[in-house]
């Protein structure tokens, strides 16, 4: 039973993070640091072509090279892999579909030998025409990147078009859009594009695989999705789940990029041929850019109809997601952005078409925000254009249309825990919205909402140790976001013990119980609830044992300062560490009646009323267990002669339901915001015929501390009835509105509207010249 309302002791405080000391002192062993006895090093031979038929792979010369233990090609492993569509193999078979597709791999005693081995492998290709533009790929029926699309196994809710390059089409129909436009005073249409960016976590993807003496496959990797990986590998190799064990290493950043299988398949493929020797594969930075997933470039056309007073009447949006060579999670990104594409607003008539399109480019994957940053960039830029034409203040226009408690979403969901309006007010106020500005300065605002993957579930064990310390077993992955500490706080609160007495076990599919994945800002809500239930279960077991010793009713017992005591009778108390929690006691020892049993609390959580979205209308009553809301307001200064932008400050207000660890929340907001600044102004993967031209951190520019603006994080709490202590998620939102907030501020400053990301000085200067020319 979950405990009743009382004064919080741990929730809402900011204890030192459980992982802070080891990370700050540089002692953490990350995936890339892992080393096992007898370990071999893997290297992958990758396609130089964006699209080509593999005619022949000849690795015969490699086998004579001393120090090489295994060579594999796609032909060795017929099993299929995929997240939404099974369109991939362990290594490419028959065709390569992007520059960087794995063609062959070797395991050798060291990296130099492995590299030399690669140079001895001969591959004959027949180059095919490459599709690099998603608009063209959508139309082209001659060149098909996946000829067998119709035969692939596809996840529920994903709708590919056989005979095309479209791997998903999400549709939403609500109200009467055409009538809505007719009844509008202003209808405006425009297209916004966004670019390809990379997560650029400092630690690259790393995996070690080994076949143990019993034949089981052990995989260590820095993954956000251990349970997904176990199932996918087992299925790909046609093995029962017991034969694959996935163990998470520490993660040096994830941001979605370490979801699903990355370095693992090649690593496992090699390990199956090395007679028990472990094989390690660590991506180089070049592979991080060319092979690891990227954020989908998009083209988003928005058509908006409003009345003079800013009442939003109708919305039509078409989104095209360029998902690259393999579907990966792209179809869900496309769907997620699709049903969110009208923004966090009350819009009665909506027509949305969201397409996910194959191209011969790097693979689009999950990336902090999952399609929401792109869609927010478009609609929030477009809203400001509407506001200007209608002569309305951008803040007022948003407040007028913003969803609130009880509003109906565009899919027909009754919304709950909606702090959006408060985030708008506070974000605007913190940068003194509407008050004096210098020359070439401007302020801009943008809102966002985001769903969480639904349905999904998490489970946890809470183990009470004999000395009254607690070990949490769950499969939420700590990747720097602070989930371990938050889960420990939740258990601490439920068990009335200090956070320092709690340890959280790193996910291991043999040890820690099921969790869907550490994605979609879901860990606090789902894993948090599972841990809370497990802790409540442990508490109940603990009180039962104490009740027998104290000869009291468990309902009358409280836990305080490491003791269990009868409420109001402090002398009737026993130290938790004196209770028989492991070894059993004889009759009479410490007053017991010959009892003793380990305490193992168990908890799991899912939302039980999740509904799919209708294929034709996109309607559904609960596509998301909770919604996150945020507003950012930026003040910028533009240097008009050079077009350079200086961000003076950005406020970022977030409805988090309930703040469990305020310092971590501020850290999440600041981290995501700087990432948003990078996407808006600096980062850009440049491609030439499908090849990444700037695959290093010297050429792909990430913002540093010197580029970070003054940041004003704001926490808004609109509790969610199902959230642990009312909490919702926060990992993704702060990156989503940043680009639009900056673009809107630039427009306010110098009257230039940039519609394609990133916002470079050249584009602003060009806009200024065009404006002068008029």
């Amino acid at each position: 039973m979950i405990s009743q309302e009382r004064k919080m002791e741990s929730i809402g405080t900011s204890p030192a993070r459980l992982d802070a000391r080891e990370k700050v002192t540089g002692r953490t062993t990350y995936g890339a640091d892992l080393r096992l006895p007898g370990m071999l090093y893997a290297k992958v031979l990758r396609s130089p072509y964006p699209h080509a038929r593999i005619l022949r792979v000849d690795g015969s010369k490699v086998r004579n090279l001393p120090g090489v233990a295994a060579v594999v090609t796609g032909e060795d492993y017929p099993g299929t892999l995929g997240v939404t569509i099974h369109d991939q193999n362990f290594l490419a078979r028959g065709k390569v579909r992007f520059v960087g597709d794995a063609v062959a791999a070797v395991a050798a005693v060291d990296l130099d030998t492995a590299e030399e081995a690669l140079s001895l492998i001969r591959v004959d290709y027949e180059p095919l025409s490459a599709l690099l533009d998603p608009g063209e790929a959508m139309k082209n029926r001659e060149v098909l990147i996946h000829e067998d699309l119709a035969q692939y196994s596809v996840a529920a809710g994903i709708f590919p078009f056989a005979g095309t390059n479209i791997c998903n089409h999400f549709k939403l129909r609500r109200g009467n859009v055409d009538r809505g436009f007719r009844e509008s005073d202003l209808v405006l249409e425009d297209t916004y594009t966004s670019h390809m960016v990379q997560h650029a976590h400092l630690e690259p993807h790393a995996s070690v695989a080994q076949v143990d003496p019993s034949g089981r496959i052990l995989v260590w990797s820095n993954t956000q999705t251990p349970y997904f990986n176990r199932k996918a590998l087992a299925k790909g190799l046609n093995l029962p789940l017991t034969q694959v064990r996935v163990m998470c290493t520490a993660l040096g950043g994830g941001f979605g990029g370490k979801s699903y299988l990355r370095a693992e398949p090649v690593c496992v493929a090699l390990a199956l041929k090395t007679k028990g020797r472990p094989v390690k594969l660590v991506y180089t930075r070049e592979e991080e850019f060319g092979v690891a997933p990227v954020r989908h470039p998009t083209m988003i056309r928005c058509k908006t109809g409003m009345r003079k007073d800013g009442t939003w009447v109708a919305q039509e949006t078409e989104l095209i997601f360029d998902t690259g060579a393999y579907a990966d999670i792209g179809p869900r990104v496309c769907r997620n952005a699709g049903f969110s594409a009208a923004g966090p607003y009350k819009v009665p008539s909506v027509r949305i078409d969201s397409y996910c399109v194959y191209t011969n480019k790097p693979v689009g994957g999950a990336f902090r925000g999952f399609g929401i940053p792109q869609m927010t960039w478009a609609i929030e830029s477009h809203l400001d254009v509407m506001a200007e034409k209608l002569g309305l203040d951008p803040v007022e226009l948003r407040l007028k249309n913003a969803v609130e408690e009880g509003s109906l979403s565009v899919t027909g969901q009754v919304l709950h825990s909606v702090g959006l309006k408060e985030t708008i007010r506070q974000a605007a106020e913190k940068i003194s919205w509407g008050k004096g500005l210098g020359t070439n300065r401007g302020k801009g605002i943008a809102c966002m909402h985001k769903s969480t993957v639904t349905p999904s579930s998490s489970s946890a064990f809470v183990k009470l140790n004999e000395d009254a310390s607690v070990t949490i077993l769950c499969s939420a992955v700590e990747m720097g976001q602070g989930s371990s500490t938050i889960l420990a706080q939740i258990a601490a609160e439920e068990l009335s013990i200090p956070v320092e007495k709690i340890a959280v076990v790193r996910p291991d599919t043999d040890v820690t119980p099921y969790d869907m994945a550490s994605v979609s800002s879901r860990s606090t809500f789902f894993a948090g609830n599972a841990v809370r239930r497990a802790a409540a279960d442990a508490r109940e077991q603990l009180l039962q044992i104490a009740a027998e010793i104290l000869e009291a009713n468990p309902r009358d017992l409280v836990i305080d300062s490491g003791k269990v005591m009868v409420r109001g009778v402090p002398e009737r108390a026993i130290l938790i560490s004196d209770l028989p929690l492991g070894e059993a006691f004889y009759v009479g020892v410490k007053g017991s009646r010959g009892m003793g049993r380990p305490v193992l609390g168990r908890g799991s959580f899912t939302v039980e009323d999740a509904t799919p979205l209708d294929r034709e209308t996109g309607q559904g009553k609960n596509p998301s267990a909770f919604w996150m809301y945020a507003t950012q307001a930026a003040e910028v200064e533009v240097e008009p002669r050079s077009g350079r932008v200086k961000i003076l400050r950005i406020s970022s207000a977030h409805d988090v339901g309930k703040s469990i660890h305020p310092v971590s929340i501020e850290g999440q907001i600041q981290g995501a915001l700087v990432m948003g600044v990078g996407t808006a102004l600096f980062e850009e993967m440049e491609l030439e015929n499908g090849r990444v031209k700037n695959p290093t951190l010297a050429e792909y520019k990430l913002p540093s501390a010197l580029d970070a603006p003054e940041m004003i994080p704001i926490i808004v709490e609109e509790p969610h009835s199902q959230g642990p202590f009312g909490a919702k998620g926060l990992g993704e939102p702060a990156l989503a509105p940043t680009a639009a907030a900056i673009a809107n501020a630039i427009y306010a400053a110098v009257g230039v509207r940039v519609k394609d990301l990133p916002i470079t000085p050249e584009k602003i200067l060009e806009g200024l010249r065009r404006k002068e020319g008029k």
Binding site: S642, L681, K701, S704, E762, L765
Partner: protein, 283 residues
């Protein structure tokens, strides 16, 4: 990276002996911020790497009526030297244009010059001061003007067995200078355009007696803007004259990528550098 032998001489003499012995097969490492990157990319594969960073005699700064700086002086030391303020602030500004604090602690003046990257920041600032480099090899020394020293992108007059042993400005000319720059994208980034300016003017008459302008990152090598310099000579200085000088300077460059934008930036930054330099004229 291919395997290589690694040597660490502690004296100049030892280093010159090694260079004579290994010649072409050796590469010299100072801070390594350029060399190591090129080795990792496989662009160069030396058999021997000679690390100079233990040669203390090459890490020095002497500043009085002239400037003498050892090639192994880290850029952070140049950036924080008390003499490089006021009229000499351009050397601090150029040093600060390179990387971030950590890079500047490692990168050296000699490396910044000898690597001869078109986007290096120290050479244009030094060019405006008429700097010279002293080169030495076993059994010979020579002094070369910095302008002659750079011959092409990543290409200098340095012979295989030679080292830069000193960078000098002698005497420090009258006047005052400034170095202004903009990065390619982020705050810590390669220089997109850098402009060094040195002005000797008549404070009372507000006229320019002599001007010296040099650009980074807009030509195969750091270049002097002779036409803009002669335009300025004898002119009564005003914002309008600075603006015109900027426009002339822009015509003297030959940027490759982002050419229009860089050209525009040359005008703006030249104007800014001249104004800043003029503002620093000693009264």
């Amino acid at each position: 990276m291919k395997p290589f032998a690694y040597l660490e001489p502690t004296t100049l003499e030892e280093a010159l002996d090694l260079l004579q012995g290994y010649g072409k097969r050796a590469k010299v490492l100072a801070g390594g911020t350029d060399l190591v990157v090129q080795m990792k990319q496989g662009k160069i594969n030396p058999e021997v790497v000679i690390n100079l960073s233990r040669i203390r005699e090459l890490n020095f700064m002497k500043i009085d009526s002239e400037i003498r700086i050892g090639p192994l002086t880290p850029l952070s030391r140049i950036a924080s030297h008390p003499s490089f303020t006021g009229r000499l602030a351009l050397l601090r500004e150029a040093a600060l244009a390179v990387g971030d604090e950590q890079i500047r602690n490692t990168a050296t003046l000699g490396g910044n010059i000898a690597n001869a990257s078109p986007s290096a920041d120290m050479p244009p600032a030094l060019l405006t001061l008429g700097a010279k480099v002293k080169l030495q090899k076993k059994g010979g020394k020579r002094i070369v003007g910095l302008e002659e020293f750079c011959v092409g992108p990543f290409c200098t007059h340095l012979e295989e067995e030679e080292l830069i042993v000193e960078v000098s400005v002698s005497p420090i000319p009258e006047g005052s200078g400034a170095y202004v720059w903009r990065p390619k994208r982020t705050a810590v980034d390669e220089t997109l355009v850098g402009v060094g300016a040195w002005l000797r003017g008549d404070r009372e008459k507000k006229t320019c007696l002599q001007a010296s302008l040099a650009l980074s990152s807009v030509a195969p090598i750091p270049i002097r803007c002779r036409r803009a310099e002669s335009f300025l000579q004898g002119k009564a200085l005003s914002p309008e004259i600075f603006r015109q000088a900027g426009e002339i300077a822009a015509t003297e460059a030959s940027p490759r990528s982002r050419a229009d934008y860089r050209t525009n930036l040359i005008s703006i930054l030249t104007e800014e550098a001249l104004e800043k330099a003029w503002g620093r004229t000693p009264s």
